[in-house]
Symmetry: D3
C-alpha cells in the first residue's frame, strides 16, 4: 500500500473519490493512501452519498485522506465500509493521544458535540475507495451544522503537526490491514 503526502493545497471537489484518481494524477499503481491539506467544496455531480444531494458539503481547510484498495476482486462495498470504520477508529485513537475526548458515531467523529469529519466510501467493479476529511478550522463549514476543527481541539497545533498526525494514521491503518492478512495466514478453517 503506497503512501503519498501532497505538499500543495488541493481542493477536494469530489473528483478524487473516482476510481484510479491516484494513478491518473500521480502515476501511483495499486492500493494507495494519499493525504493532503486543503479546502472542500463538493461538486453536485460528484456526490456519492445520496443523502447529501441537497446539502452543501464544504470547509475552508481540512486534512484529507483518499484510500484506494485493489486487493479484493471484484470490489466489495461492504468490505470497504468495514475498512472505513477501522480507519475512523484509528484516527480517533491517534487524536485521543493528544488528550482529546473524541466521540465516534459510525463514520463520523465529534469533538465537543461539533462534527469534526466527513467520510464516504464507494467502489467500482475493480477498486474500493474511501474519502475521510477532518476539519482543521470550522471556517467555511455549513452554517446549519455544528462543527469542530482540529485547531479548536488541540491548542497550538500547526500544519506540520497535522501532517505528522496524518502520517501516523496512514502508517497505523496500513499496519492494521497487514495484521489482518497475517491473522488469515495462521487460522485453521472448517
Amino acid at each position: 500500500m503506497k503512501f503519498k503526502q501532497l505538499k500543495d493545497p488541493l481542493l477536494y471537489d469530489g473528483s478524487q473519490i473516482e476510481p484510479m484518481w491516484a494513478f491518473k494524477n500521480f502515476n501511483i499503481k495499486g492500493s494507495s493512501l494519499i493525504t493532503w491539506i486543503g479546502p472542500m467544496n463538493i461538486h453536485k455531480d460528484e456526490i456519492i452519498d445520496y443523502e447529501d444531494v441537497s446539502l452543501e458539503i464544504k470547509a475552508d481547510e481540512m486534512l484529507h485522506f483518499i484510500i484506494e484498495h485493489y486487493d479484493c476482486q471484484p470490489a466489495d462495498l461492504r468490505l470497504c465500509y468495514h475498512r472505513q470504520r477501522i480507519f475512523v477508529t484509528i484516527i480517533k485513537d491517534i487524536l485521543d493521544l493528544f488528550g482529546l475526548d473524541i466521540q465516534r458515531n459510525g463514520d463520523d467523529l465529534f469533538f465537543n458535540e461539533g462534527k469534526l469529519s466527513v467520510s464516504i466510501a464507494t467502489c467500482s467493479a475493480s477498486s474500493m475507495k474511501i474519502h475521510f476529511g477532518v476539519n482543521i478550522k470550522t471556517e467555511g463549514t455549513p452554517a446549519e451544522v455544528q462543527t469542530a476543527g482540529l485547531m479548536d481541539a488541540i491548542e497550538g497545533i500547526d500544519h506540520d503537526m497535522i501532517l505528522e498526525i496524518a502520517q501516523k494514521v496512514c502508517k497505523a491503518y496500513k499496519n492494521e490491514l497487514i495484521s489482518i492478512e497475517e491473522d488469515i495466514y495462521k487460522t485453521r478453517v472448517f
Copy 2:
C-alpha cells in the same frame, strides 16, 4: 442478529468456535452474539490459531463473546477479521468510558502492559465466527505471559457490571454493523 447472555458459567474449551454452535446448543438460528462468564482451557484439538499450538490458553474467569455471521455467502475470512477488529475497538471504547487507558494492538487489548484478552476468528463455507475473551481475573492465566484482568483495572467491578458491559458491547457491535449496511444503501457506485 440475535443476542443471548448465558446465566451459568461455561468452560470455553474451543468447541464454541465451531460453526453452528449456537444453533446446536441453544436453537438460535442465524447470526448471533452469545456472551457469558466462565473459565477457559482450550483443548488441543480445538485450537484455531496455529501459532498457539504449543501454548497453554487458559484463564480461571473470563468474559466470553461468541459471534456468528451468516450474511456473507460464501463466508469470507478476511471480512470476518475486519469485523473482529471493529469488535475489539468497540470493547476498547466502552472500557475507556470507565476511565481506563486500554491499548489495542491488532486483536489484543492491553491494560498496564498486561494482556487483557484473547481472540480468534475463523469460518466454514457458510458462516463466520469470532471468539473474544476478556480476563476478569489474572488467576489461571499462563505464567509466561504478563496478563491483566478487569478486576485489576476497574475497582469495585462485579459480575453484574461485567454483564452490563457485555450487553453494551453487543448492542454497539450490532448497531455498528447495521450502520454499515445503511451506508451501503445510500452510496452511489461507479
Copy 3:
C-alpha cells in the same frame, strides 16, 4: 425488506429499474419491494434487455413490481435472475388460486397463449434489481404480440383486488427469501 404500495398511477418508463430508485424517490433505505398500477412505455435509453432494443415495450395499464436487493455484496446478476424466477413462480401460484391456468416459460407468464407479463433483472456493483409487470388490460400493448390481461383472465377483478394480489405476492416473496436464509442457518456444510 421494505414494502410500499404507491397509491397514484406512475408511468413505468424504465427509469425505475435504475439502482437506488426507491431511495432517491421515496427515501427507502435498503432492500425493498415497491408496487403500483400504471401504464408502461419504456424509453429507448432505459432498455436493459438488448433483445428488446428495437421493440415497443408498452401497455396502458399494468401492475408493476420493482424489487431491489442489497444483501449480496458485490451484487450477483446470476443470483438476481434466480430470484426473478422464484418471484415469477410465486405470482403464478397466487394467480392460480383464482382458478386460472397460467403457464410460465422462464420469466414470462401466459394466459390462454397471451403474454401476460414483462420482466427484467439487472444489477450495479452494489444492488440487484428486478422489474415485473403484469398486464391488467391488453389495451396499449404492442400489436405484433398476442397479449393477455388480468381483467380478461379474472372476471370482475378490480383495482382493489389487484392491489390485494400485489400485497400477497410481495409478502410471499419476502417470506420465501426469509425461509431460504433460515435454511442456510441449519445446514451442515462440507
Copy 4:
C-alpha cells in the same frame, strides 16, 4: 448438466449428498442430475439438517433426485437454496399437470395436508448439492408425521410413469438454468 437415471433401487442413506458422489460412483464429471427409485433411511452421521438430528428420516419407496452444481466458484449455499426452490416449483408444476393440487411451503410439497417430500441443500468449497425425495408410498415414513405419496395422489401411477415424471422434471430444471444464463447474456448492467 449431465442426466442419469439409475435402473436399480438404491437406498438413500445420506451419503449421496456428499460432494462428488456422482463422480466417485458413476464417473460423471461436472454438474449432474441423478434420479432413481429407492427407500430412504438416513444415517445419523449423514444428517445435513441440524433440525433433523433427533428425527427418523425414512421411507420405503421414494423418487430421489441428487443434483450437483460446479458452475459457481467458490460454491454459494445461498444460490444453492435458490436453485432448490426453483427445483421444487418445477416438480410441483409438473405434478399439477396430473390434476393434483400440490401445495408448496419453502422446500416442502404437500398433498392433502400430507408431507410428500424431503429436501436438503449443502455445499463444499467447490460444489453445491441438492437432494430431493418424493414419497411414492407412505409406507415406512415416520409415524409422527402425516405423509402422502405419489401412489395415493395419482391413481394408477406406476414406476414407468414415475420415471417419466422424473425425466420431465430434470429436463425442465436443466432448461430453466440454461434460460437464466441466457438472460444474463442479454442484460445491460449499471
Copy 5:
C-alpha cells in the same frame, strides 16, 4: 463458448472491448471468441489502459481476437487477466510451431525484439472481456515503438494461413478452459 471468424476487415477502434459487443453486433449470446483481420486505431474515449492515454495505438493490419466470458458472476478482473495470460501463452506456443522464437513478457509477445502484439482485459459487473491483437505488418504502427509483424516472422504467410492460426488458437483456448473446468470436477477440497 461460441467462435466466429469475421470475413470482412473491421477497424479495431476500441469499441469492440465494450461488454456485449458480440451480442449487439452479431447476436451472439454468451461467452464468445470473435476473430478477424483489420487495422487498429483506438479512439481516445475507448482507451482502457490508462498508461496508454497519451499514446497512439494503431496498426494497418492486425489479427484481432475479442473474447467475452460470462461464466463467473460477478465478473472478476483478476480471473480475466489470468485468462489473458493463458491466451497469450497459447498463441505463443502455436506460433512457435512455425519455428519462430517468440518471447513473452506479461501480455506482450516479441519477435526479434519487436513488439508483435497489443492486449488489454477489462470487465463490467457481468462479463469479462479480452482484446488481443497481433501485428500482421509493421506498417502503420507507432514510430516510437520497435514493432514486428507475422509477415516478417513467417516467410510466405498469407491471410488464409493467418486465419487458420487464429482458428487453432481459439480452439486451443476453448479446450484449455474446458480442461480447467474438468479438473475442478475431480478435485477433493479441504
Copy 6:
C-alpha cells in the same frame, strides 16, 4: 510471496498439499512457494485427484513445487487452476531454453511422449494450493505409464542446475502474478 528451497530431500507423500503446510512446518506466513528435490509416493488418504484413487503415484526423484495463495478470499478453485496452468507454461518455457521440445497438455508436460510431470490444485475456504512435480529420473515411476525425466532430457544436468531451474521458475511465476496485479491497477472497467 515467500520463496524457500529445502536443502534436504523430502518425500512428497501428499500431506504437503494440505492447507498451511508451509506455516506448520517452516513457520512461513502467507503466500509461498516451496521447492525441493525428493521422491514421491502419495498416501491413499492424501489423494486429491479422484481419478487417481486406484493408481500408484510415485517416483524415485522429482523436483517438487508447493504453492499456497491467500490473496483471494474466499479461496477460488477455478482461479487456482488458472494459476496452475500459468505455472506449467512458465516451467515449460524455462525448460525450452535448454533447447528441449516440451509439450504441454493441460497441466501435464511431456518430453518425447513421456510424461514428465504430475500436478494437482486444491483449496480450503481460505487458501489455494498447487503441487507440481517434475521427474528427474524415470526410476520408480509407475510401470504402466511412459515417463520421462529431466536427466534424460537435458544431458549433463545435475542437482545444482535443477535447483537453479527451480529458482528461475519460482521467480518468473512470482513476477507473472505481480504483473497481473499491476495490469489491474491501470485498467478502466465498465
